[in-house]
C-alpha cells in the first residue's frame, strides 16, 4: 500500500486555534487518525493533554465527536459505546480510544487489559509521550531509563514498560507500533487495522517538546531519530503473524543504526547523562535486548511459517 499525499483528505480535522502547545505531537497524531479512518470516528479520550487541547466550551478544537472520560474507564467506556452502536445497527463507526501513556500503562491498564481479553471491537491508540505531561511532567511507568522528570530529577532508574508486548501476550488481533515522525506508516497501519474486526492496539510514539525539553521545531526529527537509533522499533503483529515495518527493517543491523547519543543530546531531559558513559551503555544494552526479543518474535511468528514452534524449543 502506497499513500499519495495529494490524495489524502484536506479537511480541517484539527481546528486551528486549539489549546495545544506549539509543536504538539498529539494534534499531529489526531490528524492522521482522521485522515486514515475518515469521518465515521468517535473518540474516547481519558484525562490527559488531549482533553485540554479541545479548548474552551462551547467550541472544540478537534473535529470529531468526543467522549471525555475518567482515566480508569477509557477502554470500558469504548466497549459500551461500541455495543450501543451495534444495537443501533451502525457497524461502520470506528470507536477509537485516544489515551496517553499514563491512561494506558498505569491508571487505565485494568480497563485496557479487560477489553483486550474480551476482544472488543475497538481501536486503542496509546499516544506515548513518556510521562504525565499535562499535570507537569511526572514519571509514568512508560518513562524510559535515565530520563529526567519532575519526580525523578536524577533520572529514572527503571526501564520502560513494554506495553505492545503485553498486548501481544493477550492474544489480540492487531498490535502495532508507530511514530509521529513517519505519518504515512502510521496512516497505513490505521487503514490496515480498520479492516480487522476485534481489539486493535497501536502504540504511537509522540515526542513532547515541553516535557522532553527540546526545540518544538524538532518534534518530527526526534520521533524519526527514536526509530533510526533502534530505541523504538516499528512492527506489526496481525493475527499471530509478526513482521517489522519496512522503515524499521534496516535497523535490524546494528551498524546501520544511528548512535544513541544523537538522540540523547537533542533532549534536555537526558542532559545529566551525557557525561556518564556507563549510563549511556545501559541504554545501549536495552536497545540490544529489545532487538533480541524482536528477532526471536520475527523468527517464531514469521508469516506462513510453523508458528510458535521455535519459541517453545528455546524454553
Amino acid at each position: 500500500m502506497v499513500i499519495n499525499l495529494r490524495k489524502l483528505p484536506d479537511k480541517k480535522y484539527i481546528m486551528p486555534g486549539n489549546a495545544a502547545c506549539p509543536g504538539c505531537p498529539e494534534t499531529m497524531g489526531l490528524r492522521y487518525v482522521k485522515m486514515a479512518l475518515g469521518d465515521n470516528v468517535v473518540l474516547v479520550i481519558p484525562a490527559g493533554c488531549s482533553s485540554v487541547i479541545q479548548g474552551i466550551s462551547p467550541y472544540s478544537g478537534i473535529n470529531a465527536p468526543i467522549l471525555n472520560i475518567v482515566f480508569a474507564a477509557a477502554a470500558s467506556a469504548a466497549t459500551g459505546m461500541k455495543a450501543a452502536f451495534e444495537t443501533m445497527g451502525r457497524d461502520d463507526v470506528h470507536v477509537v480510544v485516544w489515551a496517553g501513556d499514563g491512561g494506558t500503562g498505569d491508571i487505565g491498564f485494568q480497563a485496557l487489559s479487560g477489553a483486550a481479553e474480551r476482544d472488543e471491537d475497538i481501536i486503542y491508540i496509546c499516544v506515548d509521550n513518556e510521562a504525565y505531561m499535562n499535570t507537569g511532567i511526572q514519571r509514568s511507568s512508560l518513562t524510559p531509563y535515565g530520563a529526567w522528570t519532575t519526580t525523578t530529577w536524577k533520572g529514572k532508574k527503571e526501564h520502560k514498560k513494554n506495553i505492545p508486548m503485553i498486548l501481544i501476550s493477550h492474544g489480540v488481533k492487531y498490535v502495532a507500533t508507530a511514530s509521529v515522525g513517519y505519518p504515512t506508516d502510521f496512516i497505513e497501519k490505521l487503514q490496515r487495522a480498520s479492516k480487522i474486526k476485534g481489539f486493535r492496539y497501536i502504540h504511537l510514539l509522540a515526542p513532547c517538546p515541553v516535557g522532553w525539553r527540546f526545540d518544538p521545531a524538532l518534534t518530527a526529527k526526534v520521533a524519526q531519530l527514536a526509530v533510526e537509533t533502534g530505541l523504538f522499533p516499528l512492527y506489526e503483529y496481525i493475527n499471530g503473524e509478526f513482521k517489522l515495518s519496512p522503515i524499521a527493517k534496516r535497523y535490524k543491523d546494528p551498524s546501520k543504526r544511528r548512535p544513541i547519543i544523537e538522540y540523547l543530546k537533542l533532549q534536555g531531559r537526558y542532559r545529566h547523562l551525557l557525561d556518564k558513559p556507563e549510563e549511556i551503555k545501559k541504554i545501549e544494552e536495552y536497545i540490544e535486548n529489545t532487538w533480541k526479543l524482536i528477532e526471536t518474535l520475527e523468527e517464531s511468528f514469521a508469516p506462513g511459517k510453523d508458528r510458535g514452534k521455535k519459541i517453545f524449543d528455546a524454553l
Partner: protein, 95 residues
C-alpha cells in the same frame, strides 16, 4: 454479533454539555508566535510534507499546487521549516 432492534432517542432527550468544532477555540493563537514561517514560492515544489506534518492544520493548499500559511492561527513551532526538503520555508523572527 446479532443485530438488535434499532433504538430511537426519545424526543425529550437530556441536554448534554456539548462542544462544537470551531476554529479558534482558545482565540487567535497566532499571537503566541515569536517567529513566523515564510514560504518562498520559487523553491516550493508542492511536495506537501509541511502540510502533512503541521500540527495546527494552518498550512493551506493554494490553487497553483503550492502552500500558504494561515498566520491568524500559526503558533510558529517551525516544524514545517524543519521538514521541508527544499528549504523553501524560513523562520523569520517577529520580535
Amino acid at each position: 454479533m446479532g443485530q438488535g432492534p434499532i433504538l430511537q432517542a426519545p424526543e425529550t432527550f437530556f441536554i448534554a454539555p456539548l462542544s462544537r468544532p470551531a476554529p479558534g477555540s482558545v482565540g487567535k493563537t497566532g499571537s503566541w508566535r515569536t517567529s513566523k514561517p515564510v514560504v518562498y514560492e520559487d523553491k516550493c515544489t508542492g511536495c506537501m510534507l509541511c502540510w502533512l506534518y503541521c500540527p495546527e492544520n494552518t498550512i493551506l493548499k493554494t490553487s497553483n499546487g503550492k502552500v500558504a500559511i494561515d498566520y491568524d492561527y500559526c503558533k510558529g513551532c517551525g516544524i514545517c521549516a524543519a521538514v521541508c526538503p527544499f528549504k523553501a520555508i524560513d523562520m523569520v523572527s517577529e520580535v
